[in-house]
Amino acid sequence: MMSAVQLNHVTLKFKKFEALKDISLTLEAGKIHGLIGRNGAGKTSLLSLIAAFREPTAGEVSVDGAFVFENPEKMEQIAFIYDKDYKEETEKAKKLIALASHYRPHFDMGYAEHLIKRFKLPVDKPVNKLSKGMQSALNVVIGLASRAPVTIFDEAYLGMDAPAREIFYKEILKDQEEHPRTFILSTHLVSEMDYLFDHVVIIDQGRLVLNEPYETLEAQGASVTGAAQDVEAFTATMQRLNEQQLGGTKSVMVYGELGETKRQEAHALGLEIGPVSLQDLFIYLTEEAN
């Protein structure tokens, strides 16, 4: 069960403020898409349109070719999990899980119970009495166990400690292998989550900045590591994203494709060429856009 998401010239305005500006993109079915952007970039606005929480001001949002807004067949295929304010939620966690199973056609209660154990979620406690991390774990349990063909996690890990986040990432990969679906993961923790992504979308100030398969990002730049003086000379004319030095060894992230000649030159100088990190690319692209 997986679906493709299409956005066609989508604009979203809040009175005079333009949260999304003419965004067109296709999120391929069965892939894990990373949606990256700085605070206020428009990530949540974009996701809320996909989940039919609101209508775009202009343009169309569709799933498998059919418009999403007020389309019951499409809406039930989309699970949008976000950092929900639970301070007024007095129901027990198990009640909210049962509610999701009532509405979600592909909900797997057995899997939900497995996840409850993995996260050690106290399901008999009222949700507003749970810690922030446990509230996030509850959201993740509902999102994963719903097995919606389009599953969206918008900063769903907030408040989770490192081991819990690790469980979350592992469960995404494991379940994607067994029950493939279209995941959209919106995050700030780029370096921690980049290994999950098949495809990366970067937005900044409501505009689409990058929309590429993760593998092709390697061609967008490179890391050059070696003797500090050689690295310095080799990258002098290049666009530097980041640099680190330890003793006489230096590592510089550069933006732009390295041609075969340059690679051979680096090899001759004894420099190591590696892939560019998504985090550095993200910082560079969003700073450049600003």
Partner: protein, 236 residues
């Protein structure tokens, strides 16, 4: 008109409302029994449970209506239910619940009527006359059912006003709900109506005309709520 998804919503919302009403009826019945056994104020007969609970029942459904936009609607959309299915589901649940809120006080009242014959109460209970402007349990039941449903929709109107248009416009929706209450009183409580700008022509001469007026008002409320919820953005 109702899809499987609407029925799913209706079932879940109805169960939730019943759960809340168990608390409500338990407390109301306890207060009523205290009044019957200890605070009965002498030998004069006091009202049976049906008459006693009418006003509270209407206020209870008003509160449920006010909670509707915030409690149910966002939850439904988040679970992949369309606004249309959520609306029809909630409306169906509210209708079923209004029926439940009518039948329960009527049943308790009937039970009191039987027990009163066995003289187990320290004071006489007026359980036979259950609604002042009409005669008979059926008419009283229809009256309560329509009142309760009207109060629910009035509450829902207030909540969607606040949910969709925020505070200042929300006050406007409170004012609208007062017009609804006024018209409702005009129809159902002759002599106690609050709209002094309308000529008073008592309807009790024709009970069914009152029912027709009440149903027409409910239809207007129903259509207004559908329009107000049709494309509402969901709060996060």
């Amino acid at each position: 008109m109702t899809s499987t998804r609407s029925m799913k919503v209706a079932t879940a919302v109805f169960k939730e409302m019943i759960r809340w009403s168990l608390w409500f009826f338990s407390i109301l019945l306890a207060i009523h029994l205290i009044r019957v056994f200890w605070l009965n104020g002498g030998p004069a007969p006091i009202e049976g449970f049906f008459t006693f609970s009418q006003y509270s029942t209407s206020i209870f459904t008003l509160v449920l209506g006010i909670m509707t936009a915030y409690t149910f609607m966002g939850r439904h959309i988040q679970q992949g239910v369309s606004r249309r299915d959520s609306f029809f589901g909630i409306s169906l649940a509210a209708t079923g619940f209004a029926l439940f809120l009518t039948v329960v006080p009527l049943a308790i009242n009937g039970l009191q009527h039987l027990l009163a014959k066995a003289s187990i109460f320290p004071v006489a209970l007026d359980t036979a006359v259950v609604f002042e402007s009409t005669a008979g349990a059926a008419a009283a039941a229809i009256g309560l059912f329509l009142n309760v449903l009207t109060y629910f929709f009035a509450g829902w109107l207030i909540s969607i006003g606040y949910y969709r248009f925020r505070w200042i416009a929300g006050f406007g929706f409170i004012a609208l709900s007062f017009i609804v209450f006024g018209l409702n009183d005009y129809l159902w409580k002759p002599g106690n109506y609050t709209l002094d700008w309308l000529p008073y022509e008592p309807f009790e001469m024709d009970f069914w005309l009152t029912v027709l007026g009440s149903v027409a008002m409910l239809l207007v409320l129903f259509l207004a709520m559908r329009l107000l919820t049709k494309r509402v953005p969901i709060k996060m």
